[in-house]
């Protein structure tokens, strides 16, 4: 099994949630500090563009706070937050697609081309983001959680709402598609 230090539920999560429910601002700050970078990274990998990411992250935390009362502690807090973030990212993606469709129908000016960036790091990331964006939503979620976020497959299955075998199968196809895309680009 892969080691998954990042996604492991840190001690004290449940206590933090209980204190947040009581309106403890310090606990809420701790929860934000611990999970905001994770949510940001997940949203970035899932394909939420930079200009929307900040708002999307805020929406996720409003949703987290609103739903804290329903967190029973049966799953890890990280799993629960990933699930909320995935739902928001998918919704944002749908909104973006509708906007894009409307803009091709109604609006006029094409978006400016991205600034060229010679650094390998950003170039590679842009290529990866582009390839991941071509995967279906289900495969993308599994791949991002497992390969980038380091979430164990049983947690991935819980977040994706599918059996573990299905998560493995989605991961297998996502990897195969990504490898094929990378090979095509290298030719």
């Amino acid at each position: 099994m892969r080691s998954v230090p990042r996604a492991a539920g840190p001690a004290g999560d449940l206590d933090m949630v209980v204190r947040c429910r009581r309106g403890d601002g310090t606990a809420w700050r701790s929860l934000y500090d611990r999970y905001a970078p994770v949510v940001h990274r997940f949203l970035a990998a899932f394909g939420v563009p930079t200009e929307e990411r900040e708002d999307a992250c805020q929406e996720v935390f409003v949703a987290v706070y609103r739903s804290l009362g329903r967190f029973r502690g049966e799953a890890r807090l990280s799993t629960w937050i990933y699930r909320i973030a995935a739902r928001h990212a998918a919704r944002a993606g749908r909104r973006r697609r509708v906007r894009k469709l409307l803009s091709t129908l109604l609006v006029r000016e094409p978006a400016p081309p991205p600034a060229p960036d010679p650094s390998d790091r950003t170039d590679r990331l842009r290529l990866l983001d582009d390839m991941i964006a071509r995967l279906s939503e289900k495969k993308r979620l599994v791949l991002v959680l497992f390969e980038i976020e380091g979430v164990p497959i049983e947690e991935v299955a819980k977040i994706a709402g599918c059996p573990e075998n299905t998560a493995w199968s989605r991961l297998h196809y996502a990897r195969a598609e990504l490898t094929a895309m990378a090979k095509r680009r290298m030719k």
Partner: protein
């Protein structure tokens, strides 16, 4: 169950993929973005959130919205399709106004004789008055309106732009903050910020004495906010207030003028006589802001100083604003820098920390304190590896090194700027100046860098200079 490491294999595609995944795993959020996020959700424990809406009401709402959207589309379709395509011109009817909705939800209201042209880039006010209402924009994506040889840069606000028969441009702000950019009266030289306008303020261009210059491609403002070392503010021009286009001094109030450091004139408009509209009471920040908007800089400064002595977000904001007033309004760069440094020592993790850092660097660079500016810039680049302002600051550092003749360090700074640039303007300027410095250093990569610049920006601002660098290389061979 165990899983083999992926991507497996040793082919270049697998290696590239593995490296890209490593980068994605190491991706970190921008510090400023996290802080902004926190400021938006910090008070949730004190806020009483409305209860969640049940699913059936979503469905009912969806059906109602779809019906409404259909009705609106039927009403708006002909106008939107016939509207702002590249090259289209929108004008108001002889008597009356015309309203347009532009990309990003921007609303434009054309008064009688107002003419707005869409030539594939930013909308341009060609005549008359057009008032805009711009919803909040994402960082790094400002809305830009052009008028003659100026452009108005907006993050989210309500404002008006007018061009009169004499091709004079006037801008006034109802809400938010806008910046006016230009290349000076002759239309040449580096683009620079001519004015920053707060609510109640207006700006008008100096009178046009010669044929107006050809408008350069719009800059992205943040980058040009950092002028090259040694750049001095243009001579301020003074124009009598009564010559200003009609709206700069509102009919409901009165106006007075200050010379703007970059040319043109800032007009402070007092919306209404005090007897009709008493100053805001209660919120000290609102009172200070109102004092500033009405041009009472001294009072605003006093109020902000009193506020800064307290605690909480308002005190933090006031501590930062003091620097802005001292620098932008009172022309005291040293005092402004001292105020921002005080802010930093009081709020080392403050929400406006990065803004304070950037303001200090820009102010020091503008006032010729090159060593200090470079030290601050180097510190900024070291402390904020993921900041969205990194590109701008690296470019400032590059410009300062270049002006000192230290091309080697300038190349390094421009390299950072290119890698971190969030805007075309920063990446374009950095790409060209990097090539220029490499050529000066006699580096064989210089002409290639100039060629790369020309390939990336075939109609860029520095194309003639870059072409000269390439042809010089051809001759020397």
């Amino acid at each position: 169950m165990s899983t083999p490491r992926w991507p497996d294999g040793h082919d270049p595609a697998a290696r590239e993929l593995a490296a890209a995944l490593d980068h994605a795993r190491a991706r970190t959020a921008d510090d400023m973005s996290l802080r902004r996020g926190w400021s938006a959700v910090a008070d949730l424990p004190e806020r009483r959130l409305p209860p969640r809406v049940r699913r059936w009401s979503y469905f009912a709402g969806g059906v109602a919205s779809a019906a409404l959207a259909g009705a609106c589309a039927a009403l708006l379709w002909p106008r939107t399709i016939g509207g702002p395509r590249p090259g289209a011109v929108a004008s108001a009817p002889e008597a009356g106004v015309r309203r347009l909705t532009l990309e990003g939800g921007v609303e434009a209201k054309l008064s009688a004789s107002g003419v707005l042209r869409f030539d594939g880039g930013d909308p341009r006010v060609e005549g008359g008055e057009v008032r805009f209402s711009v919803p909040h924009r994402a960082p790094g994506r400002p809305f830009i309106v052009r008028a003659e040889s100026y452009w108005v840069v907006v993050v989210g606000t309500r404002f008006g732009v007018a061009v009169d028969g004499g091709r004079n441009v006037a801008i006034d702000v109802d809400e938010g903050v806008v910046e006016v950019w230009g290349r000076g009266q002759d239309g040449k030289g580096a683009a620079r910020r001519l004015a920053r306008l707060a609510p109640g303020e207006g700006w008008r261009s100096p009178p046009v004495a010669v044929e107006p210059p050809v408008v350069a491609p719009p800059p992205t403002p943040a980058a040009d906010a950092a002028p090259a070392a040694g750049a001095r503010p243009a001579t301020a021009s003074a124009e009598p207030v009564d010559k200003a286009p009609r709206h700069a001094a509102r009919s409901s109030g009165h106006a007075f003028a200050l010379a703007s450091p970059g040319g043109g004139e800032i007009v402070h408009a007092v919306e209404a006589p005090p007897s009709e509209s008493p100053p805001p009471t209660g919120d000290p920040t609102a009172i200070a802001r109102a004092a500033l908007a009405s041009g009472d800089t001294t009072r605003a400064l006093q109020l902000y100083r009193a506020l800064a002595g307290k605690s909480g977000p308002a005190a933090e904001n006031a501590a930062y604003e003091i620097g802005k007033i001292l620098g932008d309004k009172l022309g005291q760069p040293a005092a402004a820098v001292a105020a921002w440094r005080r802010y930093r020592s009081e709020y080392p993790q403050g929400l406006l920390r990065i803004e304070a850092d950037v303001s200090i660097i820009e102010t020091l660079a503008r006032s010729g304190e090159t060593d200090d500016a470079l030290a601050e810039a180097a510190d900024f680049l070291r402390r904020h590896p993921d900041s969205e302002r990194r590109g701008e600051i690296a470019r400032v550092a590059g410009d300062l090194y270049r002006a000192r003749g230290d091309c080697r360090r300038a190349v390094g700074a421009y390299q950072i700027a290119i890698g971190a640039a969030r805007t075309r303007d920063v990446s374009e300027a950095a790409a060209f100046h990097r090539a220029e410095c490499l050529v000066r250093l006699g580096d064989s990569g210089g002409p290639d860098a100039a060629r790369a610049y020309l390939r990336s920006y075939p109609s860029g601002r520095f194309r003639s200079e870059a072409t000269a660098l390439v042809s010089e290389d051809g001759r020397s061979r």
